[in-house]
């Protein structure tokens, strides 16, 4: 059993916390930028929707399913060449945010799609009857109608990503979860493990609370 040096732990903990925020933040940003359009595309090309297109729908759905069903650790390794291509390196938090971002995009796209399905079909029909283009329906009816649910989805996404980011240690991504595994688990420093896990729980609680508040506020 190793003696715990608390000042050393603090020195490790702060950067780790920063790394977690960086990885998850980048992934969430990617999810918003690319996951939303993908979710919309998947929705509007589905059967009985406003821009029905079987081929596009199947392709999008297949890609999302592949990403979602591959275990994250495997995805992390599989994507190494791609990561190197995009960020120039295959280690560090930037490198970890590429696979994390890809999972986030697919995950959020499905959440957005689900929220779009919950938008009243009658209102969409009314818009079609008025002669609205699909783009106008997306921007004026679908996205505003699904907005509150999408905020809620963002909360779920953030919490899930905090969990996934623990595996980022494999590519040297760092982060609080990685710290918990390296110090707490491999080095049998139970007190470090408890402290880091508590920190993660705290982070998730904060995200959840803020997300709930934002979602209620969006529900106008």
């Amino acid at each position: 059993m190793n003696e715990t040096n608390y000042s050393e732990l603090l020195d490790n903990l702060l950067p780790a916390f920063g790394e977690t925020l960086e990885m998850c933040g980048l992934a969430i940003l990617l999810a918003i930028l690319l996951g939303v359009p993908l979710g919309v595309l998947s929705y509007i090309t589905s059967e009985h929707s406003i821009c029905k297109n079987r081929v596009v729908n199947l392709v999008v759905s297949f890609i999302l399913n592949v990403v979602m069903s591959t275990p994250f650790v495997i995805l992390l390794v599989l994507l190494l060449p791609f990561t190197r291509l995009v960020v120039g390196t295959s280690i560090g938090p930037e490198a970890a945010s590429v696979p994390l971002g890809i999972v986030a995009i697919a995950f959020y796209a499905r959440l957005v799609e689900g929220n779009l399905h919950a938008v009243d079909k009658g209102v969409i029909e009314a818009s079609v009857a008025m002669g609205a283009t699909w783009f106008r329906i997306v921007t004026n009816v679908l996205l505003p109608g699904a907005f509150s649910g999408m905020i809620r989805g963002l909360t779920v996404l953030a919490v899930t990503l905090v969990g996934y980011s623990a595996m980022a240690g494999i590519v040297g991504g760092g982060g609080v979860g990685d710290l918990a595994i390296r110090f707490g688990y491999y080095r049998y420093q139970t007190d470090v493990m408890i402290i880091t896990v508590l920190l993660l729980i705290g982070l998730v609680q904060v995200i959840q609370t803020l997300g709930e508040k934002a979602s209620v506020k969006a529900q106008k």
């Binding site: 009658g122 209102v123 009314a126 009857a129 008025m130 002669g131 106008r136 004026n140 009816v141 106008k220």
Partner: protein, 338 residues
Amino acid sequence: MIKFDNVSVSFPDKKGQIVDAVKNVSFEIGKGEIFGIVGASGAGKSTLLRTVNQLQRTTGGRTIVDGSDIGRLSGPELASLRHSIGMIFQQFNLVSTKTVAQNVAFAMEIAGRSREKIKQRVPELLELVGLTERAEVYPNTLSGGQKQRVGIARAVANNPKILLCDEATSALDPETTNDVLQLLKEINRKFGITIVLITHELDVVKKICQRVAVMDKGEVVEIGEVFDVFTKPQHEFTKALLSHTFDLDLPERLTSDPSKPLVKIIYNGDKAEDSIVSNVVKHYAVDVNILHGKIEYISDKPFGILIVQLIGAQEELDKSLDYLRKNTYRTEVINERN
């Protein structure tokens, strides 16, 4: 204005079986008319209505609106057709994230109207439907009747030639229904908009339609002036449909005695004011017992039903029945001896 030329619509249902929702329907709706389509649910009336703005594509025949075959339209042409056809719905279908004024403006934005034009016209439209005060509130704070008024303002925002009403009053209470129907009538008169409405409520048709088509299992089984269809139904289905409105229920003890004939007297417009029943009593040695009766107003014309019991000697009964048959629209003995 609208011509259905042998229109058929079929599509696969959830189990993948082909359903013929509309079968070979042909009729015309004139400019400025208020035309009703009635039928039980699943009769195909909603599907037929949706072919007019191509929410539903026809699989056979042609739907012709204002001279052009709309089945061939797509893209911008279809959009511009839809700008000229308003539609209101049973569930109102307002955009919940837009205010009342924004909902009305939305229809005009879609049709590419200028910002100044929209700013000028939205208040006019809200005044037309009596919702000026509520311009800035969101739809979820409105009552059903108010929501439908917003729906109407939105539907007529682009000065359409046609207004389609899909069970527009079915979610409203009777009083609100009347208000909304009055508003539709007013819009029809003021702007000359052709109104096509589908409903399962015969009362709605009686109140505002001039002509009506009766649909059953995808086919139009009867069509004509509302007064004629309602007072002289030809098809079995129409008769069954109307029986709910015009059959007056009587307790069995009254109908079971064949020695005292129960007579159903139906009279319409011209004869409603003659005192036929009292003449019977004066001229023949019979007593008349009035058991039930009501007067309906169809397209503002009176149409009355009276159920009376005739009591007297057989000979006198026959003579008075003859007299009634000659002088009323229709007279029938309900509890005929077998």
